[in-house]
């Protein structure tokens, strides 16, 4: 016994280490013991109350990470708000389009603008509807605000629209108030003009210009724009009437194709007349 005590005393560090390791392992193995858990709950509670008492001390590292998290949250919320605003604008636009489509006397096909040019002389827009959807060349295209142009070319899935803001586009038009008629064109200087309206017929600023029944391609009464200025053309008998287009060509993103087929008999007759005229002119020149 004495020898064992001497041995333990000699190697007391090892003996103590072994003893304490054993106690630790026992504690680990009994960590789920209910009594031990209760004791720990109480002690953790006491420590937590002490911690709470000192919680007023600012923690710069925690503040930094909190700032970082708040900045990220702010960024995410800003993005969300921006998306929601865009969705709201779209929803408003779609609502207006839907209402217009329901009330319109013509058969309309909704389309999305997938490409457009508006700063050239011959501007066009590409719609995501084509012959597969019933679109045909020459069909008018409009928004709920007014005329956009007419289909100049198409394939199965897409249509190219020759816009009103195109120097090749000429639309027979009529003033809604005065009933005077003329031709609406887009001039190279970037102005929409109604031509061939006699100076003798007085025009009013603010009068709405709509498509007239003279056109083969466009159904009548589609808004084109509003008279913004009336200028006298020097040396002619006509006024130069400046029109503010009803459609904003810079921002329109959706449009309707008016499923309107021109009167074939009228079209043929007018085309044959034009061809006959040009043949006669050529014959006259050759003689």
């Amino acid at each position: 016994m004495r020898r064992l005590a001497d041995l333990l005393l000699r190697y007391k560090e090892y003996a103590l280490t072994l003893l304490l390791i054993s106690i630790s392992l026992i504690l680990i193995s009994t960590s789920n013991n209910q009594q031990l858990r209760s004791f720990r709950t109480i002690s953790v509670g006491i420590v937590a109350s002490v911690q709470e008492a000192f919680s007023w001390i600012p923690n710069p590292f925690a503040l930094e990470s909190e700032n970082h998290a708040l900045r990220q949250l702010n960024k995410d919320l800003s993005t969300q708000a921006m998306q929601l605003r865009e969705e709201a604008v779209k929803a408003e636009k779609y609502k207006a389009m839907l209402e217009f489509k329901e009330k319109a006397p013509m058969k309309l096909l909704a389309a999305e603008v997938v490409g457009k040019t508006i700063i050239q002389l011959r501007n066009t827009a590409t719609l995501n509807v084509g012959s597969r959807d019933g679109v045909k060349e020459g069909m008018p295209v409009m928004t709920e605000r007014g005329l956009v142009g007419r289909v100049a070319g198409l394939n199965d899935h897409y249509s190219i629209v020759q816009l009103l803001v195109n120097v090749d586009t000429k639309v027979p038009a009529r003033m809604l108030g005065s009933r005077n008629e003329g031709i609406v064109t887009w001039e190279p200087d970037g102005v929409m003009v109604m031509k061939y309206v006699p100076t003798a017929l007085k025009q009013k600023k603010g009068d709405t210009v709509v498509t007239s029944s003279q056109s083969i391609y466009f159904p009548e009464n589609i808004p084109i724009g509003v008279i913004s200025d009336v200028q006298e053309e020097q040396g002619t008998l006509f006024d130069r009437i400046i029109i503010e287009p009803a459609t904003n060509f810079a921002t329109f993103e959706e449009a309707f194709v008016v499923l309107h087929n021109p009167d074939e008999a009228r079209l043929k007759l007018e085309q044959s007349l034009i061809e006959g005229e040009s043949r006669r002119n050529q014959g006259g020149r050759s003689r």
């Binding site: 103590l16 680990i28 031990l36 590292f61």
Partner: protein, 164 residues
């Protein structure tokens, strides 16, 4: 027993304070890595008072920290007993305070003791984590050891300036 009763009082106060500080290390935690200030205290006591006292202090501080923290009870006690034993084996009663704590030898002992401590301690926590075994030891063990050595260097510098 500690060399004087005044030392015993200082060790007790330091131990209690460091327990609270260790529990609130959010102030100096970097990327989730915190230094083990208790190991530094164990090392200071073990190198001044001997291996036997170092083992007892290691167990007492480890157990106390287990009780007040959410760690598995016994894990800190076990790791710190071993740390006290390992660090205490470097005890040399011939060395002065400056020589035992105020030199780079102290940092080496801290690094060695903390590495063993962290290895044992992390062993109990490696399974529930989603990190690989190697990255867990690298992150918690090596990074934690380095951070503890950095904090211990402050103790070393203070001890080096102190006249015995």
């Amino acid at each position: 027993m500690p060399s004087t009763y005044s030392n015993l009082i200082w060790y007790t106060i330091s131990g209690l304070l460091l327990l609270l500080v260790q529990l609130n290390l959010g102030y100096i935690t970097i990327e989730g890595i915190a230094p083990d200030l208790l190991v530094i205290l164990i090392a200071v006591i073990a190198l001044r008072e001997g291996q036997f006292i170092g083992i007892i202090v290691g167990f007492a501080l480890g157990l106390a920290f287990d009780v007040i923290s959410s760690n598995i009870p016994g894990t800190n006690a076990l790791a710190k007993v071993v740390a006290g034993f390992v660090i205490g084996s470097f005890y040399n009663e011939q060395l002065s305070l400056q020589q035992s704590i105020g030199t780079f030898r102290f940092l080496f002992i801290i690094a060695f003791g903390t590495a063993i401590h962290n290895f044992i301690f992390d062993f109990f926590y490696v399974e529930p984590t989603d990190l690989s075994l190697w990255s867990f030891f690298l992150r918690s063990g090596v990074a934690g050891t380095l951070y503890t050595v950095v904090m211990a260097s402050i103790v070393m510098l203070v001890a080096a300036r102190k006249k015995t």
